[in-house]
């Protein structure tokens, strides 16, 4: 993966994660805000209910007190305070008074706790209502201080919850109690002002177990009331404010969050539960809209992130790509490659360092070339001196013999002259041969490509040297061929390859004066063919390995130092590579790798030979 691609994906990932995190954060924040809003709505409605409850209670108390203060009530109290008072005349009074004061419940209760008149249950006259006259401690109740309260009443239609208040009219030592109240039912729920999406339900805890009919709303009944059973039971077991959610259908929009508020009576008993329902429909719709917006934002963000990443990566990697191109150019020999990077920063510094480095490399290369050139010339001069010194010594000796013969033995001069001229001609011929060899190396021909099977080349070279491997008077050399069957043919100059392999075999034979094993192995990989030639000779030192392919360098007494240089030249002309590995005392291995088809230009060590060629 390229640096640009990596940068692209890093930028993209970072931006996508950022956008995703922001979208998730917004969604979570929105949900929290909605939850908070729901809670506030519920709290507001509960507070409204409590205010309305208190207001209703005070209203009921005022009405009951108004009845107690009314002339008719006072007269009744006075009448009932008389001995042998006839209470029957008042038996039907409560209903009319209750209607006048808009009370659902009204009872006139005598001093002994007997009902004198009942509006909600006129037939209950004469029955006792003891809780009015005395409390649980059997002491009279201070109703003036008691205030309104919630209680359960038995009516003709069954039990009911009511907001009640009690007032007392005392005449002499006799009391007349006025017990009045209003029913806590759907009318009360209808009086609550509810925001859209909210509703108030009232569970009347009138039975030991959950009864769907006891759960009412403004219409008087609640659909699927049974769904509330477990929650009502929970509140009954733990009478405290609680919140629960009912999913009416599988659609989340149908969910409704309920806030349960326990309603208690005078004895702190649980008489009812107010349920404030908050439909989640709008919230879910809003959340979905936000989620869709978030998804769109994420999608757009990702798209923008891709564009920005692509642009950013391109911008960031442009100088690096230039650096890479320049470095590749340097690799390919373009030592004049330069990176044009403006601006500062690490990349700019890197580019400048690269330019400086290439500049220094060029300079060092020039110096190295200069040094190599000098060294080569020195080596050449040494070799030439060495090569030429050998024929020159006999020439000098011959010429001195001629002069001495002419001066000292003129009679033998003719014979000496004849022998000396022969020697001179032979040595001159030797000098010409030496010169020709150097000349031939300088005139290495360009390869003429054809289909070549490297195995055949190897076999022909080995066959050429078969006689010498087992020649009498020298230790035997055992050739071992490991030639891969089906080795593909390559485009090459067979003669040049033959010459190169021949030089390597000769080199190996020279490295094994005490005999040994010569191993030749061919393989192929990825369309390239490989040749390994190993000997079990004395091996080379690392320094020798480094200079091994340098022209005119030799470790042998009579070598020209051109053999391996020729091998390297042939391999290079075929676009291949040659390497050597050697271990002193173990042997040396040459590895040649040749492409199936050589490139137009030699790619390996081109400059050396090109420079050579130029020189």
């Amino acid at each position: 993966m390229t640096f640009r691609a990596k940068l692209f994906w890093i930028f993209t990932l970072a931006l996508v994660l950022s956008v995703g995190l922001i979208a998730t954060g917004v969604t979570i924040a929105a949900r929290k805000a909605f939850d908070e809003s729901n809670r506030q709505h519920s709290d507001a409605l509960v507070a409204q209910f409590q205010r309305e409850f208190e207001r209703r209670g005070q209203d009921v108390a005022r009405r009951v007190q108004g009845i107690a203060n009314a002339e008719g009530t006072v007269r009744m109290a006075i009448d009932l305070a008389r001995p042998q008072a006839d209470v029957s005349v008042y038996v039907s009074d409560a209903r009319g008074v209750a209607q006048s004061y808009q009370l659902d419940f009204l009872d006139f209760v005598g001093n002994d706790g007997s009902i004198i008149s009942s509006a909600e249950n006129p037939a209950r006259f004469g029955y006792k209502m003891d809780w009015v006259t005395k409390g649980a401690d059997e002491k009279p109740i201070d109703w003036a201080a008691q205030g309104p309260f919630l209680t359960k009443l038995d009516t003709e239609a069954g039990p009911a919850l009511a907001l009640m208040a009690v007032s007392r009219v005392r005449v002499g030592d006799k009391d007349l109690y006025i017990v009045g109240g209003q029913k806590l039912g759907k009318e009360f729920l209808a009086s609550l002002v509810l925001p859209a999406g909210m509703r108030a339900l009232l569970y009347l805890n009138l039975d030991p177990n959950f009864q769907p009919a006891n759960l009412i709303d403004v219409s008087g009944s609640v659909d699927q009331a049974q769904r509330f059973a477990s929650f009502i039971d929970r509140v009954e077991q733990q009478p405290a404010e609680q919140t629960f959610t009912i999913d009416w259908t599988a659609d989340p929009k149908s969910a409704e969050v309920f806030h349960a508020l326990p309603l208690r009576g005078r004895q702190n008993e649980l008489l009812g539960i107010l349920l404030v329902g908050n439909s989640q429909r709008e919230v879910v719709i809003l959340e979905r809209r936000i989620q869709i917006l978030a998804i769109v934002a994420v999608a757009v963000g990702i798209f923008i992130a891709l564009l920005l990443s692509w642009w950013g990566a391109a911008r960031v990697t442009r100088p690096i790509r230039k650096l890479a191109d320049a470095a590749r150019g340097v690799t390919e020999g373009n030592w004049s490659a330069r990176v044009d990077v403006r601006g500062g920063g690490e990349v700019g510094q890197l580019a400048r360092a690269f330019n400086q480095m290439t500049q220094q490399l060029v300079e060092q290369r020039e110096r190295l070339l200069q040094a190599e050139r000098v060294a080569a010339w020195r080596e050449l001069a040494r070799r030439l001196a060495h090569e030429l010194k050998n024929p020159l010594f006999p020439l000098q000796t011959t010429v001195e013999n001629l002069r001495r013969a002419k001066e000292q033995n003129p009679e033998q001069f003719e014979e000496v002259f004849r022998e000396s001229t022969g020697i001179l001609l032979a040595e001159i011929e030797n000098l010409k041969t030496i010169v020709a060899r150097f000349s031939n190396f300088a005139k290495m021909p360009q390869p003429e490509l054809g289909s070549v099977n490297l195995n055949e080349v190897v076999r022909s070279v080995v066959k050429l040297f078969e006689a010498q491997f087992g020649a009498v008077g020298r230790p035997p050399i055992t050739p071992e061929l490991h030639l891969e069957e089906g080795l593909p043919t390559i485009q090459a100059d067979q003669a040049l390859l033959h010459r190169a392999v021949e030089n390597l075999v000769l080199n190996a034979m020279d490295a094994m004066p005490a005999g040994g094993v010569l191993m030749l192995r061919t393989t192929h990989q990825n369309g390239n063919v490989k040749l390994e030639i190993s000997d079990t000779g004395t091996g080379l030192t690392p320094e020798e390995c480094d200079r091994l392919f340098t022209p005119y360098y030799t470790t042998k007494q009579h070598g020209t130092g051109l053999g391996l240089a020729i091998v390297q030249s042939v391999v290079s002309d075929h676009g291949g590579r040659i390497a050597v590995e050697s271990e002193s005392g173990v042997g040396t291995s040459f590895h040649i790798e040749l492409p199936g088809k050589p490139p137009q230009r030699p790619q390996v060590f081109p400059m050396v030979f090109e420079k050579k060629a130029e020189e």
Binding site: S88, V89, V91, S92, N121, P122, A123, R124, F125, G126, Y127, E156
Partner: protein, 387 residues
């Protein structure tokens, strides 16, 4: 001393002069229009025609008794009565004019205007504001009406309210259940509070003044025994008690019965029954029985004529001229079956305006004596002198 005598003579003269108009007012006068109000809506004056409810039938009978002189054994009427129909708006208003040729003599009043479909409360109010001269009022309102100055005329108790368990209803077939409910009923409370003491608790089917044996029937409630009996019945049946939806008094009594029963642990369900409803679908209902005669045997026989089809009570028939013991035994057999539970005896209560004179409360089987009533006042005085 002399001055004392003069003063005494003067005082006697003043008293005599003051008493003269009163003496004059006690003499019957002709003329005037008697305004009467009834609760029923009489839709037809045909005495043989069908009536929607007993109240209409009773009102129709009263009107027939005014415009006819003779009631035949077959129930038809004949001979012109003391009044004739002058104006007739079915179900709303009826004006009767005095029959000058009535063989019993011309009635004192010139006409009777009968306003129909007046509720009991409205009738009481109309009496108080002198908007009407005669109206039957519920017994429970008699005392209050009297306290407010209305002239109230009360008959002997001759109307029975009874709880009747309907024959053929399985829920009420258990005698223990019927007895439990009967024992739970506090009759005294019903009489004292609902009827405002205008009545008597009823233990038997006939009133004490008629049979002389009513005291032998217990009227006190026994919630303990009621509870005990009810607990013997398992499973507890659901009893539906019906009452006349147009009768607030019946409703009040029914509600009290339900409350009494509830206190004994018995659950009764109330259901209002429209008088015109063909099917009531109740297990028991409140029934009003009016005595047609002060004679106990006649009255009991007429009661049985109503109760037999309802409750299925069918005691041995009484012989002609049955003895009080036989009547008592027959009555006891019915009461002991608990299929009919007598609740209370009520009187007929009429409210009269101050100018109505010589009104006599009709006894059992008697009609309103309007031919004998005369009106005191200026309107009537103008007509004085007519034969």
């Amino acid at each position: 001393m002399l001055s004392r005598r003069r003063a005494a003579v003067s005082g006697a003269a003043i008293i005599l002069l003051a008493a003269l108009p009163a003496l004059s007012a006690r003499r019957p006068r002709y003329g005037g229009t008697l305004r009467a109000e009834i609760g029923a809506a009489v839709s037809s004056l045909d005495p043989g025609g069908a009536s929607a409810n007993p109240e209409e039938a009773a009102a129709k009978a009263e009107i027939a008794a005014l415009i006819y002189d003779h009631r035949n054994p077959d129930g038809t009427y004949s001979d012109p009565g003391p009044f004739r129909v002058s104006e007739w708006e079915p179900g709303k208003h009826l004006t009767l004019a005095a029959n000058e040729d009535y063989r019993g003599g011309r009635p004192f009043v010139d006409a009777i205007e009968i306003q129909m479909r007046r509720a009991a409360r409205d009738r009481v109010v109309d009496l108080e504001v002198n908007k009407t001269d005669l109206a039957e009022i519920p017994p429970e309102q008699a005392r209050r009406a009297a306290d407010r100055g209305t002239q109230v005329s009360t008959s002997q108790v001759d109307r029975l309210v009874a709880l009747v368990f309907l024959a053929g209803h399985p829920a009420a077939s258990d005698a223990r259940l019927r007895e439990a409910i009967a024992d739970s009923i506090d009759r005294d409370a019903i009489v004292n509070f609902i009827l405002q003491k205008e009545g008597e608790a009823a233990g038997g089917l006939l009133p004490q003044w008629s049979s002389g044996t009513a005291f032998l029937f217990a009227t006190v409630s026994d919630p303990g025994r009621a509870k005990e009996l009810w607990q013997q019945i398992a499973p507890s049946p659901k009893i539906v008690l019906g009452y006349d939806s147009d009768d607030p008094q019946e409703q009040a009594i029914a509600e009290r019965i339900v409350v009494n029963a509830r206190e004994a642990g018995i659950t009764l369900t109330l259901r209002a029954i429209s008088p015109s409803a063909a099917v009531s679908n109740v297990d028991a209902e409140l029934v009003r029985l009016a005595m047609v005669s002060p004679q106990p045997q006649v009255a009991l026989t007429s009661f049985l004529g109503v109760l037999n089809p309802l409750a299925g009570v069918n005691p041995d028939p009484l012989p002609d001229r049955a003895s009080p013991d036989q009547i008592y035994e027959s009555e006891k057999a019915i009461v002991r079956s608990f299929s009919v539970v007598p609740i209370a005896w009520m009187p007929q209560v009429y409210g009269l305006s101050a100018r109505v004179r010589d009104w006599k409360v009709p006894g059992p089987g008697e009609s309103w004596p309007l031919a004998d009533v005369w009106l005191d006042g200026s309107g009537a005085a103008a007509a004085q002198g007519n034969p």
